[in-house]
Amino acid sequence: MIKLTHVSKEYPKRGHALRDVSFQLGKGEFAFLTGHSGSGKSTTMRLIHMADRPSDGEVRVSGFSSARLTKRDLWKMRRRVGMVFQDFRLLPGRTALENVSFALEVTGTPKKAIQTRAGRLLTQVGLGTKSGALVEELSGGERQRVAIARALVNDPYVLLADEPTGNLDDRATRGIMELFWDLNAKGMAVLMATHDLELIRRYPQVRLFELDQGQLVLDSGATDSEPA
């Protein structure tokens, strides 16, 4: 599903953000990616989302390889991988329904099906009654649910979440985590980057990847053999 093989990333001014990182996440797995600020979490997420390419090594996501995927075909990979962020990245001045509908429309969903499908996705994330609310009228947790609904428009195999609870209070965080569990229970792989150790401790059963200064220092579910 996700496989990083000896991945390094070097930026011209910053130097090495990642050094020889290898791990894999199988179908239907749930994992946290943690580490201090600057440890390389966001770089890893960007590489998995193919927003950036590794300086060395290979990233494979759902059959797409960073070594071979052209920018022209990037959209194909993006439709298999949903992504949410700490700052939600919703379109201001539009309702929850319009935000989800926009994603459906630009990915080619037939016009007649858009409203129904957007409504169903919002219901799935627990926002069925607030679909007509402007995003500015929603709480942080509700906004993140809209962002998750948007990430689900293509029925992705993997959900990447970059500090999705970073701006949320404890109650909203629990709600988002429950939602992730539901999605994971339906077979979706979830990789969640977070620096919230309290949150990680709360879910000891979740596989954990830890980065430190760009290197993978812990893989709680790692096997002895190196990823092929």
Partner: protein, 284 residues
């Protein structure tokens, strides 16, 4: 359908920004419009002056009619010559009395007609150049019964020097104005696209195809360019009316130029949008 709806929606969502973009495009193209107006009128003035370029072959009084006819046929055979008119001594006198009334009495009192008979050689448009008039005049001068063949050599040379300067300055200034307009249009549309970078980001995030993302922005740019073009035509027309009414007569630019201007505005708009969107497409 989505493309048109999104392009129109852009104007509806941010009317001030899109209005400003169209306004900036309009002002940039207005400068080009003013330049076109000046260029066209310069061209008209030079063409009018050029139409007066002709060769006049003065004939001796003792030239026989058969000789004159031979010369007339030879001059008319030049491909650059459109017409050769014979002006008799009597015709020349009548014309002088009509066109130079201040000397009218002098012509009446004179017992002898002092004016020579002549051949007026008119040239086809595009052939009123110094080398052609020189060649035609040279051919006529070879005949012994030709007194002189004149075409205002110095005047023609100056006219063509002026024409060359006009052409060079038109080309240089035209390119410069077009580049400035392109830069302004590019900047205006880049600002408009910058305001919608969130949408582009999300489209890329969820897997919209690049061509799908690009299309509404291209149309939006073309519409802003077209709106700016219409504004520029309006402003240029206002200036033309003002100058014609209060300063001096000028001619309005041909409709074809306006069409080209509007198309150029739309094309600039689409191209600027394409350039701006390309940068955003690299970001996610």
């Amino acid at each position: 359908m989505y493309v048109i709806r999104e392009a129109v929606a852009a104007f509806r969502r941010a009317p001030v920004l899109m209005g400003l973009s169209a306004g900036m495009v309009g002002l940039a193209l207005f400068v080009v419009g003013l330049f076109s107006l000046a260029t066209y009128n310069l061209q008209v003035a030079l063409s009018a002056m050029e139409e007066r370029v002709e060769v006049v072959v003065y004939l001796r009084d003792d030239a026989r009619q058969t000789e004159i006819d031979t010369l007339l046929v030879e001059l008319a055979a030049f491909p650059e010559v459109s017409r050769v008119n014979y002006v008799s001594k009597r015709d020349a006198l009548e014309r002088a009395q009509r066109e130079l009334p201040e000397f009218g009495q002098l012509f009446i009192e004179s017992e002898v007609n002092p004016l020579p008979q002549s051949l007026e050689v008119e040239l086809r448009p595009g052939n009123r150049t110094p080398d052609v008039v020189d060649r035609v005049a040279g051919a006529a001068s070879n005949y012994p019964f030709v007194e002189d063949a004149l075409y205002g050599e110095e005047w023609v040379d100056r006219l063509f020097a002026l024409r060359r300067i006009g052409f060079a300055s038109t080309a240089v200034l035209g390119v410069a104005f077009a580049m400035v307009a392109a830069l302004i249009i590019g900047t205006a549309l880049r600002i408009a696209i910058l305001a919608r970078r969130d949408e582009i980001y999300i489209m890329r995030l969820v897997g919209a195809r690049d061509s799908f993302i690009r299309r509404p922005f291209l149309l939006e740019g073309a519409l802003a360019g077209l709106a700016g073009g219409v504004l520029a035509v309006g402003l240029t027309y206002g200036t033309y009316r003002g100058v014609s009414t209060y300063l001096f007569d000028v001619e309005w630019i041909p409709e074809g130029w306006i069409g080209i201007g509007l198309l150029t505005g739309a094309l600039f708009g689409a191209m600027s949008s394409a350039a701006a969107i390309r940068r955003h497409l690299k970001e996610v």
